[in-house]
Symmetry: C2
Subunit: 326 residues, 2 copies
């Protein structure tokens, strides 16, 4: 890529004066961006790379790709209870495709604006298509949500309708018999390609949640991270799992596979003391976001699945399900 | 790559307790790392990606690759006068090669330790080999070195011996006639593959330098960034350029091509008021780092090259040299 081409690419990510958030003291274009977290705030940082053929297919509209590349990173901030400040974009492109760049930048910057998150720096390289984003956020000192705080007796909650993204993936793979209706496919596909990072929920959970993680690898897999970091176990009650409308017509097996073992949903999975149950319900109502109480933290390590509380434990056929994921 | 392989990779980047710097409040392994810049400090961030075949060949020893991936990012902090705090690593690997990972991690973490810069997070992906690093540093509020502060009459300085890295590149390309001696080749190759980020110099230049940049694209090209950001021009005096010992035996043409148009050296190019001339000289002596005064900032835009001050301007055959770079 020539220097002229780099300039061309940079143009797509520059904002006219007065448009878009301005959080940086020194912005894009110097050796470093300079940011100042507010007094009393700590800085939360995370990075995620999406590689073509691995995280997305070349058929995904570039606008959705731009959205998702930032969304999966904002989701990490959400899981820490951090408010977005800014992000850096490392873009590796096989060629300069202006239509692609325009769409990608549109999707990326629209989500950035929505969360008042400034593009403060980046790097463009020639090579196989890959999109790396590093996000920066701030959280009051000592109040970041961690994976390690779950305590015995805590409720286990999940936001939204996990499983939709996996349903879309299986539809793309052609494994669903019968196939999805066009409307259900579009809903599921939107969840996969245009996930909504739960930033407001994460901020609202400061002081309420004892532990949190975003569901990227699958509900059971990500729950496992909380359990391992917290040194506890969990009982899950399958009858309490939220069923997305686009999953309503599927078999129970497909529903559970998608909800428990699907990933890429970017819902928040969190634990909270039963004393905060009402406050959590109110937070969900305030945000217009369904929050489902799906289980309870226990002292004994591992996890057990029950249809409902008080019933006999079910066979856990997802124990070695993770390897199935590409 | 299976989850097991990810765990394997992560092992190479984890430090035994008590080894390596600890700057993060919440480290690698949660959704976000949490860092707290010291009171009165602003945060400096930068990101750079190195792609195989573009920024390095598969023949580079992995230990040097690990070093360089962090070094080029620390160099951006240096150019801003920022002290390193931590970094995130986004690693895209075609396969799990344990010998490669061990070497890469060794080179990376040795440089990180040298600069008290903690690996606070990251992401590993399967795909064509690419190494993305985002560095975080801190700088006292309002004292970051920028590209935009050069003032008419300021001295123009460069650290070390720019041109060595380009000499190695041309040796690899086989363009040098006669070829390099084995010793000169090794020196030049070390400059290319194992550059020394000028972090201490950058910190020392706070309050002294009016503008700074690191020489990644070539001395003239990077000087152009300072001139454009500052709205000024420059006179350069070629007789004052430092000649690296490994360049001493080359023709004057090769010397100037390497010094003026070579890149990848990661020396600092900076401007400073003549009133600070003695202080700059003392800083160089204190750091044991040659600092050469190679020109002067002028009001008229553009650049002029002179053999020495007061002589007639030379033809500038590097005006369109940039495109030559791969």
């Amino acid at each position: 890529m020539s220097l002229g081409e780099f300039d061309l690419i940079a143009r797509y990510f520059q904002r006219p004066a007065g448009q878009g958030p301005r959080r940086a003291v020194v912005g894009n274009g110097d050796d470093c961006a300079v940011l100042a977290p507010a007094p009393g705030m700590q800085l939360a940082v995370s990075t995620d790379t999406m590689v073509e053929g691995r995280h997305f297919l070349s058929t995904v509209p570039p606008e959705r790709l731009g959205h998702k590349a930032l969304a999966v990173n904002l989701s990490d901030l959400a899981a820490a209870g951090a408010q977005p400040l800014g992000f850096l974009l490392a873009l590796t492109l096989p060629r300069v495709d202006e239509a692609w760049l325009a769409g990608f930048a549109r999707g990326l910057l629209a989500l950035a604006d929505e969360h008042d998150c400034e593009l403060v720096g980046g790097d463009t390289t020639a090579g196989p298509l890959a999109i790396g984003v590093t996000v920066l956020g701030e959280v009051p000192s000592g109040r970041a949500l961690l994976r390690s705080g779950a305590a015995v007796g805590d409720d286990i909650w999940v936001s939204g309708h996990p499983g939709e993204a996996r349903l879309a993936l299986e539809a793309f793979r052609g494994t669903l018999v019968p196939g999805l209706s066009a409307a259900d496919f579009e809903t599921a596909r939107l969840a996969l390609e245009r996930p909504d990072p739960r930033v407001a929920l994460g901020v609202g959970l400061r002081g309420l949640a004892s532990a949190a993680i975003d569901v990227s690898d699958g509900l059971l897999g990500d729950l496992g991270h909380i359990l391992a970091h917290s040194g506890v176990g969990a009982d899950l009650f399958l009858s309490t799992l939220p069923i997305a409308p686009c999953l309503a017509a599927r078999s129970r097996t497909e529903q559970l596979d998608c909800i428990l073992a699907g990933g890429d949903d970017y819902e928040l999975l969190f634990t909270a003391s039963a004393a905060h149950r009402e406050a959590v319900v109110q937070l969900g109502a305030q945000l217009g976001l369904p929050l489902s109480r799906i289980g309870r933290v226990r002292g004994q390590p591992g996890r057990s699945l029950f249809e409902s509380e008080g019933m006999a434990p079910l066979a856990d056929r997802w124990a070695s399900f993770d390897h199935f994921k590409a």
